[in-house]
């Protein structure tokens, strides 16, 4: 089993803390929302929400009742913020931001990824640690997080932080932005989880133990959702045996492991 280091332990730890914090924040937030599943100020109407009065299903909520949900929400918010701060500081100081900040031509590269996923292109575009779509998503995530915190502050303290609330269009709109930002987080997360299971389940090991087998990367497998999910050979990738299948012409050869393991006994 070949392994190259992929995720630093701080990245792995903050990833899973983020899973916990976001789950609590979204679940309790939805329970709070259910106390008034609408956006209009009393005596007014609201233009832009078609599901007024419809509660979120209870099984998606957390906290039990309004006070419980609020207590969880206002406790877990510190975990979310502190965790985000640790992650961003690490990513900045340790240089990982280079793998996350969009590069020149990110729009074109993203389009090539979309074409590949839609089978409009045969070969997986060449990539580094992440493909262009991943870069865009992972780069957007912290910004969406910042938007969640700012819109949250605006509805927590609409009087003491009145200028912030005012900037977001007042309490009613700030609450709406907070809801939309939550939706964006949910959509990004669902897309991320779907792609992990449908394209790169080997990444699960990388986000738990830190190790990753580059020879099984989506690019090496030419993997699109549910296609080439398994590595193409069952022989150890360190062996010199060529893949059974004809490799896609022009595909870069599987990256040679930087530190080959000693030959394994069968």
């Amino acid at each position: 089993m070949t392994s190259t280091p992929r995720h630093h332990w701080i990245v792995r730890l903050t990833h899973w803390v983020n899973v916990l914090a976001l789950t609590i924040m979204i679940g309790s937030g939805l329970r709070i929302f259910n106390s008034y599943p609408a956006f209009a100020r009393k005596g007014e109407s609201f233009c832009c929400y078609p599901f007024t009065g419809h509660k979120i299903p209870e099984w998606l909520t957390f906290g039990g009742w309004l006070a419980g949900a609020r207590n969880w929400h206002f406790a877990a918010m510190w975990l979310l913020v502190a965790n985000g701060f640790v992650y961003l500081t690490f990513v900045y100081l340790h240089g990982e931001w280079r793998d996350l900040v969009p590069r020149r031509g990110v729009a074109r590269d993203s389009w090539e990824m979309v074409k590949f996923y839609l089978a409009l292109r045969k070969l997986h575009p060449h990539q580094g640690k992440h493909n262009a779509l991943q870069r865009t998503a992972y780069f957007a995530m912290p910004w969406v997080g910042v938007a969640a915190v700012l819109s949250g502050l605006a509805i927590w303290k609409p009087v003491q932080l009145a200028p912030l609330t005012h900037l977001l269009g007042g309490f009613v709109w700030a609450r709406y932005w907070h809801f939309l930002v939550m939706l964006a987080l949910v959509i990004l997360t669902l897309g991320h989880v779907f792609m992990v299971f449908a394209v790169d389940p080997y990444a699960l090991r990388a986000i738990v133990t830190g190790g990753y087998d580059e020879a099984k990367s989506p690019e090496a497998r030419n993997a699109r959702p549910f296609v080439n999910l398994r590595a193409r050979t069952d022989v150890p990738v360190t062996s010199a045996a060529p893949p059974h299948d004809e490799p896609p012409s022009g595909a870069p050869p599987p990256a040679a492991p930087s530190d080959p393991e000693p030959t394994q006994k069968p």
């Binding site: 089993m1 280091p5 709070i32 008034y36 009393k42 009087v159 932080l161 133990t209």
Partner: protein, 253 residues
């Protein structure tokens, strides 16, 4: 560089865990976590309650540090008055109404850590300097509503009663069963904190807390006791109807 941080061989490998074992372990852990969560009620694990209390105390400190006497609520100019669509809340079975025949004339008592305790009739209250503010109200449930509030600044009442320096908290008590909520003094003396007897130009209606209620945009609705009977200045907190049941005691906005 990363070699310094990551072992050449992963702990999992040293333990002899391959991918299949890893996936199995992951599934088992996931199932365990799900069962663990199912084991606690929908309010979360009981063991977390202490942590939540600690977070609430921390949040109170943060909110008190954020508090500014000159941070004002301004209702959006285009916003409509909620009027009769303003939700009405009380804890008694029916709208609480002060029965003069049974209880005598209604008076608002100013008591506790003041030099000159007082009992003011509604007329006496109305003769004090009047303040009228158009304010956006924030409910703990998430809705807001605009109303015009007419009344006396609590700071004015405190000044007239001769507030003692030992006073740090205020308890607002009512005749709506035993409803009451206590506040920090800073919020009570905010220049938008009123003892309200009028709403939207008319007298306060029974549904909204007549004859008088406390109102301030710096507190969530449940902190603003309606059907007032006593305002007691205290050296310590005195909890509150909803605060004692799990809602934040501070309830600041």
């Amino acid at each position: 560089m990363s070699r310094l941080w990551l072992p050449r061989h992963h702990p999992a490998e040293r333990l002899g865990i391959d991918r299949r074992a890893f996936l199995a372990a992951g599934l088992a852990a996931g199932a365990g976590a799900t069962l663990g969560l199912a084991g606690c009620n929908s309010q979360g694990p009981k063991s977390a309650q202490g942590l939540l209390r600690a977070a609430e105390h921390f949040n109170e400190k943060v909110e008190r540090a954020l508090f500014r006497h000159n941070a004002m609520n301004v209702a959006p100019s285009g916003a409509a008055l909620a009027g009769a669509r303003f939700p009405s809340y009380f804890i008694a079975d029916d709208v609480p109404v002060w029965d003069e025949k049974e209880r005598g004339i209604w008076r608002l008592e100013i008591a506790g850590l003041v030099q000159r305790p007082a009992k003011l009739t509604l007329g006496e209250l109305q003769n004090l300097p009047r303040t009228e503010l158009r304010l956006e109200h924030f409910c703990v449930e998430g809705w807001s509503a605009v109303a015009v509030r007419t009344g006396v600044l609590l700071a004015e009442l405190a000044r007239r009663a001769g507030l003692l320096p030992e006073a740090r908290y205020v308890d607002f008590q009512s005749f709506d069963d035993n409803y009451h909520e206590s506040w920090d003094l800073d919020s009570a003396l905010h220049p938008q904190t009123l003892i309200v007897y009028g709403q939207d130009g008319g007298l306060l209606e029974p549904a909204f807390g007549a004859p008088a209620r406390v109102y301030s945009p710096v507190k969530l609705g449940y902190k603003c006791t309606k059907y007032l009977t006593r305002i007691v200045f205290l050296p310590e907190k005195n909890g509150g109807y909803w605060s004692d049941q799990g809602y934040e005691w501070y309830g600041g906005v």
